[in-house]
Subunit: 123 residues, 2 copies
DNA sequence: TGTGGTAGTTACCAAAAAGTAAGTATATGA
DNA sequence: TCATATACTTACTTTTTGGTAACTACCACA
């Protein structure tokens, strides 16, 4: 679905880093653009596709689908389809996804500190 | 030095996310390509430009310079020039940069778990 | 005058990520 | 038969990131 060359220095570097450094591997799972926002929202509970779209208004449907699919295949969330009409699809954190929560909180706290530093020392 | 349009939906989205979510702001400071590797190495102590280059062989001089400059302007590391011959430039973590260490470790641990899950459940 | 060492800088190009907009599928109800 | 609702797909384009390779500046030493 996402077209990528099978080899390029760029990709090889990324792979090598993710393989040798678990931290970078972790970032590859949850550190892309809208993923933190999605994961953050989901700590509140189950979300439907449309609900998440409304919860993060700037995200495009394409990016939302793409990120949800990746999070699912990486084992962070589950996707459940209810064959009703209109269709209902629910997304929820897995246990593994939930285990990220305390780390997200810590990084969030650190990020707040960083924002303050930036604001008190402009330029 | 780094050319970026002053406005684009892409950039505006990134800014908005970083402003409202400290977690994403944190990622923008330390989550790019070689930065975790650089920060990780530096927890061992002071590094010279050339030492870091040899410590992370795949990194190009361009990316190393760029990341070091960004880490410096974001207050995570210091850059000290010694006007000797040959020139000596030393990079070291600031207190703020050091405060990231426990979080890096936690995410690292989580990443290891994720790697194991991936390896035990291929496909 | 030329070679070597440190620490970069620069221009150019390839690759990847993200955005846009229009289209798909399924079924209900007017 | 048309409009509505949900949940996507797809083709295409723009923007951003990363890599390559050649070049700069400073000075020491032979």
């Amino acid at each position: 679905m996402i077209k990528r060359k099978e080899s390029s220095v760029n990709l090889e570097n990324e792979k090598a880093l993710a393989a040798e450094c678990p931290f970078i591997f972790a970032l590859s799972l949850m550190g892309k653009r809208w993923k933190p926002a999605i994961l953050w929202k989901m700590t509140e509970g189950i979300y439907r596709f449309g609900e998440m779209k409304r919860a993060i208004p700037q995200i495009s449907e394409k990016m939302l689908t793409q990120h949800l699919r990746e999070l699912e295949s990486d084992g962070l969330i589950t996707r459940t389809v209810y064959h009703e009409m209109p269709l209902r699809v629910e997304y929820a954190l897995t246990e593994f996804g939930t285990s990220l929560q305390p780390i997200l909180k810590q990084l969030n706290t650190w990020g707040e500190k960083a924002q303050n530093i930036k604001n008190t020392m402009p330029k």
